[in-house]
């Protein structure tokens, strides 16, 4: 197996982008990443794109070919383009499949991208589309919503561990504070714990400010064999681990409702592959689709003991200048969550940080970063560890 490096990145503006289509937004991300890497179209061996639900959001399937076409890589070059899907973890999965392709030696230059166009339909239709990531026949049919499922995780977490609504709110407060400094973020406003607690209740105990928004956006990274990475860039970022794990599709079938076992397992596999421990990680982008999800993530990845994530967050340990900076990009909450793009955006944020290019979000001396991308209520988890050093 070959070592793999990320040699180019680009994330588009995240937000309610009514002025731009799926095909244009992903083209912008792809072209931006290629320019960043100094790679030409002729060099591209394959495109892997994460997209959760073009079918439901814009009534468009066959996203891979569409992208190859609009990127000018189809008609003459016939570059293979493959869409992968694991709900909100589609982006992380695209990165992982791209890494597989390069590591295997089958491909050299691979574009791993993610895109979602979510605001062309009403927000209630978008919620229904997202609920397809859960079990439609045994959760959705009973009136379950995504906030509802995570609210049930939150309720039990509070009951078992004494986690408070204020601690949940602090996740959103911290992520908005980070998002202020991220030019591509959907929101650039600071919020307070009171703002979160006073916002409307969506699914008790989760308020609207505990939830990530509905977002349009795309991101792309360029992968290359580590041996030739320096041909393209002075600052390649190396893939130290890629891992993925599955769990039951329905929340009610989990061994422990408050633990995302797929995250635990994917985290362990990644640390084993990279020969690292949580203490070695300088910053992490976790899947905070809801505030409780960030708390579970930092516990399940091993950054803090199970049940102590709320207190840990409240004490400021996950801020940019804290013990383990979490979601410097603003996370899904403030940066936005175009579901198929999120996993790639997370990697792009880590690369920017490891290059030292993150401006006011910069974590001083960051050398090793981690990404954590979740599908559904935890049926898929994808983890990557990236490093400045090979």
């Amino acid at each position: 197996m070959r070592d793999v490096a990320i040699i180019g990145i680009k994330t588009t503006r995240f937000g309610e982008n009514w002025d731009i289509s799926l095909r244009d937004t992903i083209t912008e991300a792809g072209v931006g990443a290629l320019e960043d890497a100094g790679v030409t179209g002729e060099e591209i061996d394959a495109i892997i794109v994460g997209n959760m639900s073009g079918g439901q959001f814009i009534e468009q399937e066959h996203i891979g070919a569409l992208i190859a076409d609009y990127a000018g890589l189809a008609k003459e070059l016939h570059v293979p383009a493959t869409r992968v899907e694991a709900a909100c973890a589609s982006g992380g999965l695209a990165l992982r499949q791209g890494i597989h392709a390069v590591a295997s030696g089958l491909e050299d230059i691979v574009v791993a991208a993610g895109v979602e166009k979510m605001t062309d339909i009403s927000s209630s239709s978008a919620s229904t589309a997202l609920a397809a990531a859960a079990d439609r026949e045994w959760e959705g049919i009973m009136g379950a919503t995504f906030p509802g499922l995570y609210a049930m995780i939150a309720r039990l977490h509070m009951h078992k561990y004494g986690t408070t609504s204020e601690q949940l709110a602090q996740v959103a407060v911290k992520n908005h504070a980070n998002g202020v400094h991220n030019p591509i973020a959907q929101y650039h406003n600071k919020i307070s714990v009171d703002d979160v607690l006073r916002s409307i209740m969506v699914a008790d105990p989760l308020h609207i400010f505990d939830c990530s928004p509905i977002t349009d956006g795309a991101a792309a990274v360029i992968l290359a064999p580590a041996d030739i990475a320096h041909k393209y860039t002075d600052t390649p970022v190396y893939v130290k681990a890629t891992s993925q794990a599955s769990d039951t599709i329905a929340l009610h079938d989990r061994k422990d409702i408050t633990t995302l076992a797929a995250t635990v397992e994917a985290g362990k596999r990644a640390f084993r592959m990279a020969k690292l421990t949580p203490g070695d990680i300088d910053l992490v982008e976790v899947h905070d689709c809801f505030t409780i999800a960030e708390i579970c993530a930092i516990e399940d990845l091993g950054f803090v003991k199970k049940g102590e994530g709320g207190k840990f967050t409240e004490e400021g340990n996950t801020a940019i200048d804290g013990k383990i900076p979490v979601n410097t990009s603003g996370g899904l909450k403030s940066c936005g969550h175009p579901v198929g793009a999120t996993g790639i955006k997370q990697a792009a944020e880590i690369v920017e940080q490891l290059r030292g290019d993150a401006g006011k979000r910069q974590v001083n001396g960051a050398e090793i970063g981690m990404t954590h991308n979740v599908g559904g209520s935890g049926a898929t988890a994808v983890v990557h560890i990236l490093s400045r050093n090979r």
Binding site: S127, E137, A250, I257
Partner: protein, 129 residues
């Protein structure tokens, strides 16, 4: 949800019928055609659950799923049946009285309406004991 898709599991939804693996003695609801513990070595048969259970966790939904708008706020819970498995269901109760660990029993109720054709579908919800 389409009529055939609902109809296929109608008996299971109406009567709380799941499966029991006679090899490892595990009970499953929702029903499964293959025992996930024994996989190919398992032997599953239908099993009618007593319906007695307790609330593992719950939420009060204020922003409804499509088709459930008229029901808000409604309580959604995960109920652990006495035979072992857990399921997701609405719990018909005053949100203020809900508690983790409370005992519940099943009732036959309208679940919702399918948007386009207005088909009404029924199934099992729970009420406090």
């Amino acid at each position: 949800m389409s009529v055939p898709r609902f109809w296929r599991k109608q008996v299971a939804r109406y009567n709380l019928i799941g499966t029991h693996c006679t090899n490892c003695k595990t009970y499953y609801y929702p029903p499964r055609s293959m025992c996930p513990k024994c996989r190919r070595d398992g032997k599953t048969e239908n099993y009618k659950f007593s319906g007695r259970g307790e609330v593992l966790t719950y939420t009060v939904i204020h922003t409804a799923a499509e088709g459930f708008e008229k029901q808000t706020p409604y309580v959604l819970g995960i109920v652990k049946l006495e035979e072992g498995p857990s399921l997701t269901s609405q719990i018909i109760a005053d949100p203020g009285t809900m508690k983790i660990g409370m005992k519940v029993r099943p009732v036959f109720r309208k679940l919702g309406e399918s948007g386009e054709k207005g088909m009404i579908y029924y199934g099992t919800k729970f009420v406090p004991e």
